[in-house]
């Protein structure tokens, strides 16, 4: 692998990790609240949060661009304060984060739904506040699903393309991730490099998923003893 290719790989992993870190807290919180919330509008809220899962990524990218473009309200406001997002690495993080968010939420929410809500209530009667009850009971009981969601989100972030290319462009050295580089290489007929980068992508996804499997399997074995 050339230095340039290595840089693309590192950059991609870094962007995916940042995106995952960015959605970790809000994603797990949203998952927990969705699992517990029973009030009106639950269905609509569920659906809205899952939309990026089914929308064409280009639609998500388009919305983000409309929101954050320099001559758009939010983007303009940020630009006046010297914060540039579109077509920078921040846009890569943002686009991949938005696309990965529902995967984390879905997986974590299912895990939280499987936790008996009465156990959380019991923790409260034993003196744990809502936050402590979450960290001492709900999260430890749901962590497998949460971890699976984190890895899924990370893997999705590694491979995000459609939203990223619209909001972040395909600027080598600035915003070019593996998926974008592969696209570009195929476009200009640089197939040999595309093959190498594709292989790396497959490898990364495999390692991420296999790691989760391994941790979960270990856990199950230990529980069965």
């Amino acid at each position: 692998m050339s230095a340039e290719e290595l840089r693309i790989v590192l950059f991609t992993v870094e962007m995916a990790a940042l995106a995952t870190a960015l959605i970790l807290v809000p994603g797990v919180a949203a998952a927990f609240l969705l699992a517990r919330y029973r009030g009106p509008g639950k269905g609509a809220l569920d659906t809205a949060l899952s939309l990026p899962l089914v929308l064409p990524p280009t639609v998500v990218g388009f919305f983000l661009l409309e929101l954050l473009g320099r001559n758009r309200p939010v983007g303009g406001w940020l630009a006046e304060r010297g914060i540039e997002i579109v077509f920078t690495w921040k846009a890569v993080v943002l686009a991949t984060a938005v696309m990965a968010f529902p995967l984390l939420v879905r997986s974590a929410r299912t895990a939280f739904e499987e936790v008996d809500p009465r156990l959380v209530g019991l923790a409260r009667t034993l003196g744990a506040g809502p936050v402590a009850a979450f960290f001492r009971v709900a999260l430890p009981l749901a962590w497998r699903g949460v971890l699976a969601g984190v890895v899924l989100a990370f893997s999705r972030a590694l491979g995000e393309f459609g939203a990223t290319i619209l909001v972040a462009g395909n600027i080598p050295g600035r915003t070019q991730t593996l998926a974008l580089a592969i696209f570009h290489d195929v476009q200009i007929g640089r197939d040999d490099r595309a093959v190498g980068l594709a292989a790396v992508t497959v490898g990364l996804a495999f390692v991420a998923l296999w790691t989760t499997e391994w941790i979960v399997r270990r856990r199950v074995r230990r529980d069965e003893q």
């Binding site: 990790a17 320099r70 971890l147």
Partner: protein, 261 residues
């Protein structure tokens, strides 16, 4: 519990490792210049950029794509310093939008269109009408990509567009059209003469005479939003004898100051 700690540890190690690796903006300590340029300039600007880097100690990053896509990104706020377009329309749009100041732009180059086929292809064309033998014709998107728009105007001028438009394979930029012919995805393509010269896997079967096609002009400009003072220096360097020698060698026709608007 140990497993939980292990998992947490693993996750945080990954995160810390990722964060510790310097962000791309800081990966190289040299000051950076971001140049958006038409895909057809990939080879020429790559070489000229290296020359500029050696001379100034700066780092020049290029984003090569269809001029239309790059202009769109600039309008949305892409932080480019210099833009080299393959047609005047896109640059005019930016100027109208206040993103380029008139005094910061120059007309840099001219180019010619060429009809290409795969190097091993038996297709031979001596006049435009021979294009009717093409099954699939790769063009930069004739709605948006400059090379495609030039090609369409030429085909319209010679009265072939009506026949050929159904066989067009539109691509995102001119280099993708070239790649489509290289890979055999299309049997014929219309690209710039300079693109054809970069590839050993295609051959030019018909050069489009300059008088049949609309004039091709590559304007270059420093963007108004650029905060890099060296952007102007780069624009000047593009017009230097050193750069003109590279352009000429690769088949471009540098425009004289007198020819500039």
């Amino acid at each position: 519990m140990p497993t939980l700690w292990l998992a947490t540890g693993l996750a945080s190690t990954t995160l810390v490792a990722a964060l510790a690796h310097p962000l791309p903006a800081a990966a190289d300590r040299r000051p950076e210049l971001l140049v958006f340029a038409a895909a057809s300039l990939t080879d020429a600007l790559g070489e000229i950029g290296a020359g500029f880097e050696a001379r100034t100690g700066m780092r020049v990053l290029f984003s090569f794509a269809g001029s239309n896509a790059l202009a769109r990104q600039i309008q949305a706020g892409a932080p480019a310093d210099v833009f080299v377009s393959a047609n005047l329309d896109r640059m005019d749009e930016l100027e109208k939008g206040g993103l380029v100041r008139p005094q910061d732009r120059v007309d840099l180059l001219s180019n010619r269109l060429a009809v290409v086929v795969a190097a091993c292809s038996k297709l031979a064309m001596s006049r435009p009408q021979d294009l009717e033998r093409a099954h699939r014709l790769a063009l930069g998107d004739p709605e948006a990509v400059p090379a495609g728009i030039y090609a369409r105007r030429w085909l319209e001028a010679v009265g072939l567009w009506g026949v050929l438009r159904e066989r067009v394979v539109p691509t995102l930029d001119v280099r993708a059209a070239l790649a489509a012919v290289e890979s055999g995805a299309a049997d014929v393509g219309i690209v710039y003469r300079t693109d054809a010269m970069t590839s050993r896997r295609v051959r030019v079967t018909l050069e489009v005479p300059p008088d049949e096609a609309p004039p091709i002009v590559y304007p270059a400009a420093v963007l108004a939003s650029s905060k890099t003072s060296e952007a102007r220096e780069f624009l000047d360097y593009l017009q230097s004898a050193e750069a003109r020698a590279v352009f000429t060698r690769l088949g471009f026709e540098p425009l004289d100051e007198t020819q500039a608007r």
